[in-house]
């Protein structure tokens, strides 16, 4: 379990970083990048290949990030002067091109055989008790900061509605979420038994499952919409309960993560990677928050809103778009290095367009233009991934490959639900939707 949680934290962190890069480009600058995985691939391959040739890991990862930024520069120079949709098309093309190059240039990347046995960070590191305690403090400190921000944000939400209203709404939301989970859980258990008993033909079970799921989701979406029109403070209550549950889950995971650090030697490379990833998420988040709240970030937002205005006010739009694309690329490149270390083998197939899609899911889930939202989006996304990976196989009568497709289908379904319930994303600002251009 501990190893599993460590790996979950690493994946969440990596995709949080990856998503933060995309959020800078799309959420803040309005650049449509449908090939974000290309930056990740460049970062991953560069890091791995350099470190195999004896370059120190930190340097290798930095060069990997730099090369990814360079790719951003090339893409930007060739397309940013054109209309926005061209960037979307070119980035899809580039990401596939990068993957195909990795697949075919076997002298460099060993093609589909992949690269194995490359150096991993902190793999032979055996920290003393003091070092471990420092690491624990660092990670706990980062998490505490995160909770503090969450707390401040929640309080701000709470202030907007009177307490009695909010209590009522929260209780209703609690009932709503509990009954939903119970229903899903009960349905899952029933389906599992049905599958094990083997009395129904698989297709019938499958249709029944999908129908049942659609019915439950439909019912609850309908309920939520009714409630939001009938009960004041409903969505705030739902948000409160939801984040509360997530926060508790976070505590539980934190416990595992800290105990993993304490028992560092039982799995040095993964634990070390976890610490590095968590710290890098914090660093990236902090840096980006600072940037987007500076005059520099204001120009990016202005470009997102209307680049003609930015030009009319003397801003070099092209140059700022280029910076955004490059910085987002650099961040994704660093995420790529972490990704390679986490996977321990690098295949071209790790960099399918699906990864870009996952990045978009994370950004849209959390709310484009909100860095905290992207972190939350990544957490939810990976919670979903793990839950379904372990549970779905027992319930759904599908083989592994189809199961993968099924999970993506459900993500699509959930995104659709989210777009109905909260089109601005979980942490997005609702007022922004009603604004005229």
């Amino acid at each position: 379990m501990q190893g599993f949680i460590v790996s979950l934290v690493i994946f969440t962190s990596i995709f949080a970083i990856f998503g933060l890069g995309l959020n800078l480009q799309w959420g803040f600058t309005g650049l449509i990048n449908f090939g974000h995985v290309a930056f990740m691939a460049v970062g991953a391959y560069a890091t791995v290949l350099l470190s195999l040739n004896g370059v120190p890991l930190i340097l290798a990862a930095l060069v990997g990030g730099g090369l990814a930024a360079l790719l951003g520069l090339l893409i930007g120079l060739s397309t940013l002067r054109l209309r926005a949709d061209y960037l979307a098309i070119v980035t899809i093309g580039v990401s596939e091109m990068v993957r195909l190059v990795a697949l075919n240039e076997e002298w460099l990347t060993r093609g589909s055989f992949g690269i194995q046995r490359f150096p991993l960070p902190l793999a032979n590191f055996s920290p003393t008790l003091l070092t471990r305690l420092v690491m624990i403090l660092l990670v706990a400190g980062v998490v505490a900061l995160g909770y503090w921000r969450l707390w401040k944000w929640l309080r701000q939400q709470v202030k907007q509605a009177p307490q009695s209203v909010l209590t009522r709404a929260s209780l209703a939301a609690l009932g709503y979420l509990t009954s939903l989970s119970l229903l899903l859980y009960g349905g899952g258990v029933a389906a599992r038994q049905l599958k094990a008993a083997n009395v129904l033909p698989p297709w019938l079970l499958g249709v029944g499952l999908l129908g049942g799921l659609a019915a439950i989701i439909g019912l609850y979406v309908w309920l939520a919409q009714r409630m939001s029109s009938k009960m004041s403070g409903w969505s705030t209550g739902l948000l409160l309960v939801f984040t509360g549950v997530l926060a508790l889950l976070g505590f539980w995971i934190l416990g595992y993560a800290l105990s993993a650090i304490y028992n560092y030697d039982s799995n040095p490379s993964k634990t070390g990677l976890m610490v590095i990833s968590v710290l890098l998420v914090a660093l990236t988040y902090w840096g980006l928050e600072r940037l987007v709240n500076s005059p520099w970030g204001r120009i990016l937002k202005a470009i997102r809103e209307d680049e003609e205005v930015a030009k009319a006010l003397g801003k070099n739009v092209f140059w700022y778009k280029l910076q955004s694309l490059m910085l987002g690329g650099l961040i994704a490149g660093i995420a790529g290095a972490l990704y390679a270390w986490q996977l321990t083998t690098v295949y071209p197939d790790n960099f399918q367009p699906l990864v870009t899609f996952n990045g978009w899911t994370i950004v849209v889930l959390g709310g484009a233009g909100s860095n905290a939202g992207t972190l939350l989006g990544s957490a939810i996304f990976w919670a979903y991934q793990t839950v379904t990976r372990f549970i779905l196989g027992d319930i759904v009568p599908l083989d592994d490959a189809r199961l993968g497709a099924f999970r993506i289908m459900v993500i699509g379904l959930l995104l659709m639900v989210l777009m109905i319930w909260r089109p601005q994303g979980i942490l997005g600002r609702k007022e922004e939707l009603t604004l005229g251009r």
Binding site: W296, R298, E305, A312, L313, K315, N316, E431, L435
Partner: protein, 286 residues
Amino acid sequence: MVDNAPLDGKGEKVAARIQSMDETLPSVASTPAPAPSLLVAQGLCKSFGGIRAVENASIEVRPGSITGLIGPNGAGKTTLFNLLSNFIRADTGTVVFDGEPIQHLPPHQIAQQGLVRTFQVARVLSRLSVMENMLLAAQRQTGENFWNVWLKPRQSAREERQQREYASEILESVGLTPMAQAYAGALSGGQRKLLEIARAMMVRPKLILLDEPAAGVNPTLINQICEHIQYWNREGMTFLIIEHNMDVIMSLCDRVWVLAEGRNLATGTPAEVQRDPQVLEAYLGQ
């Protein structure tokens, strides 16, 4: 309709600040009498496919003046603004601003030189607050440079405070103070127009091109805007204004250029232009 009534204190504070914070701004008082033109455009042509929107048009703006640009709908006035600010590249013609040819410069550099344009249909940055819209317009901000965000945070914060103060004063003078923290996208059409003018002022330009500043603004506010334009003008800012509201043109402008079907039709003082039979014909139809 606009009298030169003494202004309230706010406008004067703004003006004082303009002078104290930007020494390069030319002031009427300090400029010698036979000043060279601030803006000279000659032989500008632009056709969109078959339509000749601007054909061999010229215009000249003297420093310290308020110059009007009028003409019937579709005469090519907005297109001329686009050519001057290089938002659309001219087919032929030259534009000299403050002694330097600018027709080859990209739009943002023209704005940096001190020539700012506004849009006929007001364009605001919807998901930024009104205040952020204003702050964006300030020029040469330290924090606009990626590295300075990290290396000079205090200088950047200090400038930000000053700009914020200056922006508040301008917002006050156009009556947008209550909306300062609201999303710009939540403003009404007329308020957007005001924000656009205020934002252009925030650039502290030498010359502002206003495209129909009074369109969709209520009469009392039009008066107020006119007063402020005159006030800012007295403090050294030059204006080139497209306007269909002849009262505004008459009361504000020193000189008026008339455009019809993309060509220069006439130029002169407002009174001269108003008497010109050609102009009357162009406006009233054959």
